[in-house]
């Protein structure tokens, strides 16, 4: 089980630590609405969707620049 540990220290007066543990199994407890349900950086699904979107964005950019370079007419110097 992969767990991330976050320590939050209260700086007022008494020194105390609160540990917040998140894990893929607790994703069901995190409730997002609308688009954040599918695109967030906490749940497995959200992270996966962001990764796939980033890859698709990069692929589209490469495709765009490739097509632009093939379409642009070559200008001959006179």
């Amino acid at each position: 089980m992969n767990c991330t540990l976050k320590d939050i220290t209260s700086g007022i007066g008494i020194f105390c630590k609160i540990k917040i543990m998140t894990s893929p199994e607790m994703d069901a407890q995190i409730h997002f609405t609308d688009i954040k349900k599918h695109f967030n950086s906490y749940t497995l699904t959200g992270r996966m969707n962001w990764v796939l979107t980033t890859y698709e964005g990069i692929a589209l950019m490469i495709l765009y620049f490739k097509l632009r370079s093939t379409k642009a007419p070559t200008v001959k110097a006179t």
Binding site: T4, P24, S41, T45, R47, M48, W50, V51, L52, T54
Partner: protein, 212 residues
Amino acid sequence: MGLPIAVLIVMFPSILFPSPNRLINNRLISIQQWLIQLTSKQMLMIHNQKGRTWALMLMSLIMFIGSTNLLGLLPHSFTPTTQLSMNLGMAIPLWAGTVITGFRHKTKASLAHFLPQGTPLPLIPMLVIIETISLFIQPMALAVRLTANITAGHLLIHLIGGATLALINISATTALITFTILVLLTILEFAVALIQAYVFTLLVSLYLHDNT
């Protein structure tokens, strides 16, 4: 025979590990079995059922690299692990095997691994790219780490040995100091030989753990 000698050199360490063929074996085999059990228990502790199917692969890997590195410390011998081609040939298939295992059995988790949990929104694309690059650098780092460590050690021994020989006729005291350094360096290289084998195998084991 037409066989390159490098093939025989690579195959030679396997002769040093005879197969146990009795219930109670001789001292050599008993010691080797004990060492293998000690290493495998420690290394496979973190793995689940699926990860433990790689036990034979990981133990063979550490035994091969360890024995090859140690044999390379003999004078005038050839060390296959100084060749980057050989180390890449070990690192890339093993790393690719762990990655493909992860994508095959846990596709969502493997893809989600490219984005650390809790990343702020503006940093997401950059971090995905950085994590992808760091994934593809893993086999290169594995191979280059082993090559560089073993090559550097051998080079140092060669240079300091040459310096000791040259200094014998010039100044006996300096030659003695250089010889002492050479002895200490050789002891260090024995340790490095075993440590690098352990580090290589441990990292492959960790990549496997991330993907199973």
